[in-house]
Amino acid sequence: MDTSLFIIQTLNGLQLGVLLFLVASGLTLTFGIMDLVNLAHGSLYMIGAFICASITLWTGSFLIGILLAIPATALVGLAVEMTVIRNLYPRDHLDHVLATFGLILCFDTLVQIIWGPEGIAVPLPKWMDGQVLLPGGVVFASYRLIIIGVGLAIAAGLYFLVVHTRIGMLIRAGASNRTMISALGINIKALFTGVFAVGACLAGLAGMLVSPITGTSIGMGNEIIITAFVIIIVGGIGSMKGAFVAAILIGLIDTLGRSYLDDVFKLVMNAEVAETAAPALSAMLIYIIMALILAFRPQGLFPPKTR
């Protein structure tokens, strides 16, 4: 096996995992605290990417694009929370699924009306668009390293926010026992709105970061949202730590599975069968993991302590 290729694929997996964490962290917060199944979380990822792409093309600067698109995505998140999502909290999961499914249809169409059916290619600034020579003679795209760095920094920031601040204490308390913290006089409505907006920002940021690599497209949110759900189920609903570990795990498993599963299969079966079976299985791999987790450890890897 080629070592440098393996390192590159591992880094790619890490980069995917970090992006997935940005999406899943917001999802696990809203799920854990508000008990809300938000399928439309992926739409915020898409919205963030499109807003950032427009601003980038308009101003010519990717950084300005990101800096302006983050508050813009937060505003979209606030608007959605106040008009639709807020009314869903007292409902059951079935209503959540249906109403947020409706939101997806709306968002996808709105984006199509505003930006047209075709996606946007986002140019990278020159200084980000290079390659880095890593120790060991591995050449890797510097932008992907930047994504990993930004993602890890945000993960650390979120960790600090959740574990060491008063807001974080409320968030954790909300995930453990919602009724109790509202009985203690905490303004739960404001907390919910705030958490939703933060989640929207994080998802939007993930979309912005990924757009120079894949471009923006209308279905992009619907692909990642399902993976994000897999992550929060595997990690344990409501757990930030679980979301981080599971996101990195799923990112690595998915990337490495796609590149090495056929080699593994060739060890135990003939080449022809391996070449048909491997792509099928690598696409299904993360769902298989989720099904296994749900069957044997339904609370996830790191469930928050609940009462």
Binding site: D92, G102, L105, L294
Partner: protein, 347 residues
């Protein structure tokens, strides 16, 4: 337990006024039902001889989707099991027609290479039964949102499995060159196909009606309301739910086989999770745990889709808004709404 569920359980509680309440409900429901049934029989025949094939096709699609929605309603509405992966059964059913036909034209797989309709439909139902048994056995160990997600995961697995089999078209889908062959009738005649679908719908609805009102159905509905109480009564809820899940899968597989015959083109796209969402929407829109709910839901869904898409290519926008509004404001679906209008005073 949600508020919605307790609300729905109200009419079934015996007490003073219960008889008159159900009497009023029957009237409102009966009239609507008769109108729909009459339309289902008259409109396609008239359309066919009036040279408006479009309406025959629309009615066929409606009836097939109604069968699938009835299958989903059986576990979702009556059993409270929110399956988010039922499109997989429809897809499997359709491929159970497509793959044998593919092999009967191109060589290979002699065991199932055939155009025989009996083989297609038995295969569709058998595959779905096995798939439902395997996935249901695992899924039903979980509850609430975990159940939604694990059923979706199995749906996605099926989707990616079919996508990766390039022999049967993979992502591009598979054209079914020949429809299922039957003695005496031919599916190539649109009215015959439609009649077959409609008869199937009636049979399925009758069977579901019988099952819901049997001891089996009572256990299922009881488990939705209070699982622990049933367990305390010594009933193995898991076995009942698994049986219901398998039956539901078989019904959707059957609908899938019909759909394959109708569209003659199948692709993994029909198993995408958004399709499962649409199917769920039909059930909820029509009103869960009403026999005619799925039919009403599917009818409204298709008519909305058709009429909105005539006005604008962006029809998903008003459609999504209507979906959100219906969730927020019409509890108990359209059937529930009819009920309320029929018996507004005793609410």
């Amino acid at each position: 337990m949600s508020i919605q569920q307790t609300e729905q359980s109200k009419p079934s509680s015996a007490g003073p006024g219960a008889a008159s309440r159900s009497g009023q409900r029957l009237n409102a429901e009966r009239i609507i039902t008769l109108i729909i049934l009459a339309a289902l029989i008259v409109v396609p025949v008239a359309a066919y001889y009036g040279d408006a094939r479009y309406w025959v096709d629309l009615a066929t699609r409606l009836v097939i989707l109604s069968i699938a929605a009835t299958g989903l309603n059986f576990i979702l509405g009556y059993g409270g099991m929110i399956s988010f992966g039922h499109a997989a059964f429809i897809g499997l059913g359709a491929y159970a027609v497509g793959i044998p036909v593919f092999h009967s034209i191109n060589d290979g797989f002699p065991l199932i290479a055939s155009n025989n309709g009996f083989l297609h439909f038995v295969l569709a139902m058998a595959v779905c039964a096995v798939f439902a048994l395997l996935t249901g056995a695992i899924s039903l160990r979980t509850r609430s949102v975990h159940f939604i997600m694990i059923t979706m995961a199995f749906g996605q697995m099926t989707y990616f499995a079919i996508v990766s089999i390039e022999k049967y078209g993979g992502d591009d889908g598979l054209t079914i060159d020949l429809r299922s062959e039957w003695p005496l009738i031919t599916f190539d005649h649109p009215l015959v196909l439609y009649g077959f679908c409609l008869a199937s719908l009636f049979v399925v609805m009758y069977l579901v009606h019988r099952m819901v009102n049997s001891r089996f159905g009572m256990v299922l509905q009881g488990a939705k309301q209070n699982e622990e109480r049933l367990r305390a009564l010594g009933i193995n809820v898991y076995n009942y739910q698994l049986t219901a899940y398998v039956i539901s899968g078989i019904i959707c597989g059957y609908a899938g086989a019909l759909l394959g015959n109708f569209t003659t083109f199948i692709s993994p796209e029909m198993m995408d999770w958004t399709r499962s969402g649409e199917l769920m929407f039909m059930v909820i829109l029509g009103g869960v745990s009403f026999l005619f709910g799925p039919l009403i839901g599917a009818a409204v869904f298709l008519l909305l889709e058709e009429s909105l898409s005539r006005f604008t290519i962006h029809w998903h926008l008003p459609f999504g808004v209507l979906l959100i509004l219906s969730v927020l404001f019409i509890r108990g679906g359209l059937s529930g709404l009819l009920q309320k209008l029929g018996g507004a005073r005793d609410r």
